[in-house]
Structure formats: structure tokens, C-alpha cells
């Protein structure tokens, strides 16, 4: 894991990625009890290409050049299945900008804040998000004022009310 994070940091240092942060299940596990997951979801802000397109291709090309290979929808980076996800809406962009700096065995990295993870679960609203939501809200240290502000700004208060008893 540490070595995979060092590779991500190198991609950011080299400008292949403008900024990255861990999201998804692994970010949730940072705040709650661990559970099984296959992928390390990494949200990325990409530098715009010369043609103004945002594409993950430069990340895949850079990793292939380092000898890493694709594994279905992921890249196998130092034994970890990493799925790169571009910041696809304003909520994810904000979550990436405000991600918490974390040290993983000497490797610096970033993890989405707990309040943003709740907002993303509400926004994505897949069955597994709903399943994870209750346990996450029970176990994760949430700043309620910050959470309510995020939910209000991103139009998620109504769903929050529906999902919380």
C-alpha cells in the first residue's frame, strides 16, 4: 500500500495528475471498521490536455511506462488494484480540494473527509452506499455543522432526511 501511494505521489509530482485523494471504500475504512473491498478508488483532478479534453489516458500511459498493467477497470499498482476516477461533479471537486492530508507509514497521501464521504454516498445512492451509510454515520467522527453545510450547498438535505430516521 505504501509503495502504491508513493507511485501516486510520483504521478502528481510529475504533473500527470494535478491532485489526487483516496475515496470510496478505503476512505470509508479510514474512519470506520474495516470491511472487504477489491479496489482503491482514487479521485483525480487532471491537468487539461492540449486539446482541452479531460482524459485518464495519460495516467494509464505513465503507469504502463513504469511497467504496471491493467486489471479489468483498474491498474495493478504495486499489488493494489487502483481505480482512477476523474472528479465528475462539483461535490467531488470540492471533496478533492479539501481532502485531509494523511501519513501512511511515511508516505504522504490524502483521504476525502468524512463529511464529504457522507455527501457522496447520498449523491451516488447505490444500494451499497445506502448499506454503508448507517454504519458509517454511527462510527465516523462527523462534524455535523460542516456536514449540514455541504449537504445544503449540494442539494442533498432532502435525501439526508430520507435516509436518517
Amino acid at each position: 500500500m505504501k509503495k502504491a501511494l508513493e507511485v501516486l505521489n510520483q504521478l502528481e509530482h510529475d504533473g500527470v495528475i494535478a491532485r489526487y485523494a483516496i475515496g470510496g471504500a478505503v476512505a470509508a475504512i479510514f474512519y470506520m471498521e474495516p470491511f472487504a473491498t477489491e479496489d482503491l478508488d482514487v479521485f483525480v483532478l487532471l491537468p487539461p490536455s492540449s486539446r482541452g479534453l479531460l482524459t485518464l489516458a495519460p495516467i494509464y500511459d505513465a503507469l504502463r511506462a513504469l511497467g504496471y498493467r491493467e486489471d479489468r477497470e483498474c491498474m495493478d499498482v504495486q499489488g493494489v488494484a487502483v481505480q482512477f476516477l476523474p472528479a465528475y461533479n462539483a461535490l467531488i471537486e470540492e471533496a478533492l480540494r479539501e481532502a485531509a492530508a494523511v501519513d501512511y507509514e511515511g508516505a504522504p497521501t490524502r483521504i476525502l473527509r468524512a463529511e464529504h464521504l457522507v455527501a457522496i454516498m447520498l449523491d451516488t445512492a447505490r444500494p451499497k452506499d445506502r448499506q454503508r451509510f448507517a454504519a458509517f454515520c454511527e462510527q465516523a467522527p462527523l462534524d455535523n455543522e460542516r456536514l449540514q453545510d455541504i449537504l445544503k450547498r449540494h442539494g442533498l438535505l432532502e435525501r439526508w432526511r430520507t435516509w436518517t430516521p
Binding site: K2, P34, L66, R69, D71, R72, D76, Q78, V80, Y104
Partner: protein, 72 residues
């Protein structure tokens, strides 16, 4: 029944639930690398079951020195 339970204190079920809750809190507070190690243990446990059903399932191979990992 409630009266009996109240008289005898917490039931065995209540105690089991409390132990489970305490374990969850303990795991939630564990250092992140320890939690990642648990994730990999869970992957290794689930993989043979899911593969037997014909599903693909990844198990992370963590921390070997040197360059990229390859299937050996």
C-alpha cells in the same frame, strides 16, 4: 419477559451485542495500516469462495521491494 430481564440484568443477547459494538469501535479506532491489513485478510478469505462461483476477485499483494509486481 421484560420484567424477568430487568430483574436478571442484561440478557446474553444484549451482552453479545454490546461486545460486538465494542469490537466495532475498537476496529474503527485502529491505525489505518492495521485496517488495510484486515482488508487484505478479508480479500484472501472471500476470494476462493467467489472464484468457486466463477466470479473474479482481486486480492492485493502488498509491499514487496523493487519495481512493479507481476504474476509469478
Amino acid at each position: 419477559m421484560d420484567a424477568i430481564n430487568a430483574a436478571n440484568g442484561p440478557t446474553e443477547l444484549q451482552r453479545a451485542l454490546e461486545r460486538k459494538q465494542a469490537r466495532r469501535r475498537l476496529m474503527a479506532a485502529a491505525p489505518f495500516p492495521e485496517k488495510i491489513a484486515v482488508v487484505v485478510q478479508l480479500q484472501a478469505r472471500f476470494a476462493p469462495i467467489l472464484r468457486a462461483r466463477g466470479e473474479e476477485y482481486r486480492v492485493w499483494r502488498l509491499e514487496s521491494p523493487g519495481g512493479p509486481k507481476r504474476e509469478g
